[in-house]
């Protein structure tokens, strides 16, 4: 009821804007990397058919992203691939969230649930995601369902485990304090338990989002017609190493962007996400 705090004070938790160094620092490693790559290519220490020149990559990327469809092998496909891949990631990730967070919180608070789930989940967790691929292909065929299944399965574990740990570590005193102030169990879950567990839940979501992209590519390698993973696999068969590199860079950028977006969305939606980081 009292969101009356002055904006100055509520912003205090933020990283201070310590000028250009802080802004530049995140780009130091990518910058150095590109510089080395440029030098290697210019001096032809590595032949171009193994590692294309940055300027060729730039040209390929431009065609792939902005080119008119039909004007070349991969021209203008980016938007369609991005849409297809994002849809699969979001679907799989959402499934993992919807199942993982409630189950994790329950398991963190109720000994019975935790006893029931722990053996199964820790056994399944030991199975590498890639071993599910053949089975998923038999069950779901090639395409959307297999990819979504793999993404959901892979994202589930970090989301579940972190929600569980977060819920378990909430100090009983906070819940007691709520109880004595007249907060019953259901409201206490949303007003106290979830906010207090929020830092862990966020960690789980971010890890889950990252792994979602990894498993998306795995799912798409199996021969779906579109998507970023499909493009990479397709390019390998055609020997278009420049497209592979473009795909890798794009996935890295999109992954980073999704992470930032997820963080921002959580901070917008939850007071505790804004304030407990």
């Amino acid at each position: 009821m009292t969101e009356t705090a002055s904006p100055k004070r509520l912003n205090r938790g933020r990283r201070s804007q310590a000028g250009w160094l802080n802004r530049l620092l995140p780009w130091a490693i990518p910058g150095a990397f590109i510089l080395i790559w440029f030098v290697i290519s210019e001096t032809e220490m590595v032949p171009h058919y193994l590692l294309p020149h940055p300027k060729d990559i730039l040209a390929t990327a431009a065609t792939y992203i902005f080119g008119k469809a039909g004007n070349g092998a991969y021209a203008g496909r980016f938007l369609e691939d991005l849409m297809a891949s994002s849809f699969r990631v979001m679907l799989g990730f959402s499934l993992a969230v919807v199942v993982g967070i409630p189950l994790g919180v329950l398991s963190g608070r109720l000994a019975l649930v935790s006893r029931m789930l722990n053996t199964t989940i820790n056994a399944l967790r030991a199975v590498p995601g890639i071993s599910w691929l053949p089975l998923a292909m038999v069950w779901f065929g090639i395409g959307l369902k297999t990819t979504v299944f793999l993404v959901a399965l892979a994202a589930f574990f970090p989301i579940f485990l972190n929600a569980e740990a977060g819920a378990r570590q909430v100090s009983p005193i906070l819940l007691q304090a709520g109880a004595m102030m007249g907060v019953r169990r259901l409201r206490g879950t949303f007003a106290i338990l979830l906010p207090a567990a929020m830092p862990s839940i966020i960690t789980g979501l971010r890890l889950g989002m990252g792994i979602s992209w990894a498993y998306l590519v795995l799912g798409e390698l199996t021969g779906v017609p579109n998507g970023l993973g499909a493009v990479i696999m397709d390019a390998r068969m055609l020997g278009r190493i420049d497209i592979i590199v473009v795909g890798i860079i794009l996935i890295a950028l999109i992954g980073r962007f999704c992470d930032l977006g997820l963080n921002q969305l959580l901070r917008l939606s939850f007071k505790s996400a804004r304030r407990l980081q």
């Binding site: 009292t2 705090a5 007691q176 304090a177 004595m180 102030m181 106290i192 207090a196 007071k271």
Partner: protein
């Protein structure tokens, strides 16, 4: 139990004040892994009258925190009953509020939001809630700190917030579990005075757990002296010193010495 010991003369709180909290033959045993059970509290009975300040004094491990947890409704007694105004209590509620020793504020809420937390679901219009929050902020002397987060303020200030957020709910009984034990001596004295001022104003019934004899003599109308193995009340000491009490007065010191001698005799 023996009749209460009397130190000095008349008792400031009216002995006819109605009983608010009655504890009848309360016992608590904790089951230990395979090895039977440990008796923490045995057969405790006493009555707290309206507006009384009772200090529960004892060394650590004598079950005084367990007693407070039972009164708060956080844990169930093995036997016996707790009655508030004649009604048995079994679960936590805003009529018996607790001030914890440890920091129990919600870290994602500002000081002001922490104080407003318990009011949220009360049938009261927004403006009224807001003015209540401001009133209690100023009563504990934190008007300028309403927008700070708990991790940005000192231990003493946190306890001020803890007190304000329960006083605003107008509890019948205030249960305080060594609330000032973790503070430095100067801050502790400040907080003791603040609590006494608020008590004069609101006339709550207060049960105050402490292991500090000086604190008990300064605050209490009555000291319940706990001893361990199993935990129980050994003495019920009335402290009749007039208020306000000063720690450097002869009367205070005499009272402190007498209380100490009772403790040492046990």
């Amino acid at each position: 139990m023996k009749p209460p010991l009397h130190i000095a003369t008349p008792w400031p709180r009216s002995p006819e004040a109605p009983a608010v909290l009655s504890i009848e033959r309360l016992s608590k045993r904790f089951e230990t892994n395979g090895a039977g059970s440990v008796s923490v509290l045995r057969d405790i009975s006493f009555t707290a009258r309206r507006g009384e300040m009772i200090c529960i004094l004892g060394r650590s491990g004598c079950g005084k925190s367990t007693l407070l947890n039972i009164l708060a409704g956080f844990i169930a007694p093995s036997s016996g009953t707790v009655r508030l105004n004649g009604q048995p209590v079994s679960r936590p509620g805003p009529d018996r509020c607790v001030v914890f020793q440890d920091d129990a504020l919600f870290p994602w809420l500002t000081v002001r939001e922490n104080i407003a937390f318990g009011l949220k679901k009360r049938p009261m219009d927004r403006a009224r809630k807001k003015s209540e929050v401001e009133r209690f902020l100023s009563l504990v002397g934190l008007t300028d700190f309403g927008d700070y987060f708990p991790h940005e303020i000192s231990g003493g200030m946190k306890q001020r917030v803890s007190i304000a957020r329960v006083l605003i709910l107008q509890p019948e009984v205030l249960l305080m579990d060594e609330p000032f034990a973790a503070l430095d001596a100067q801050t502790r004295e400040e907080m003791q005075n603040l609590l006494l001022t608020l008590w004069e104003k609101f006339k709550h019934t207060i049960l105050f757990v402490t292991h500090d004899v000086g604190e008990a003599v300064l605050m209490a109308d009555r000291i319940l002296l706990f001893e361990k193995d199993p935990g129980g009340i050994r003495e019920d000491i009335k402290i009749d010193l007039p208020r306000p009490r000063e720690k450097d007065e002869r009367r205070f010191f005499a009272c402190y010495r007498k209380t100490m001698s009772i403790i040492n005799r046990l």
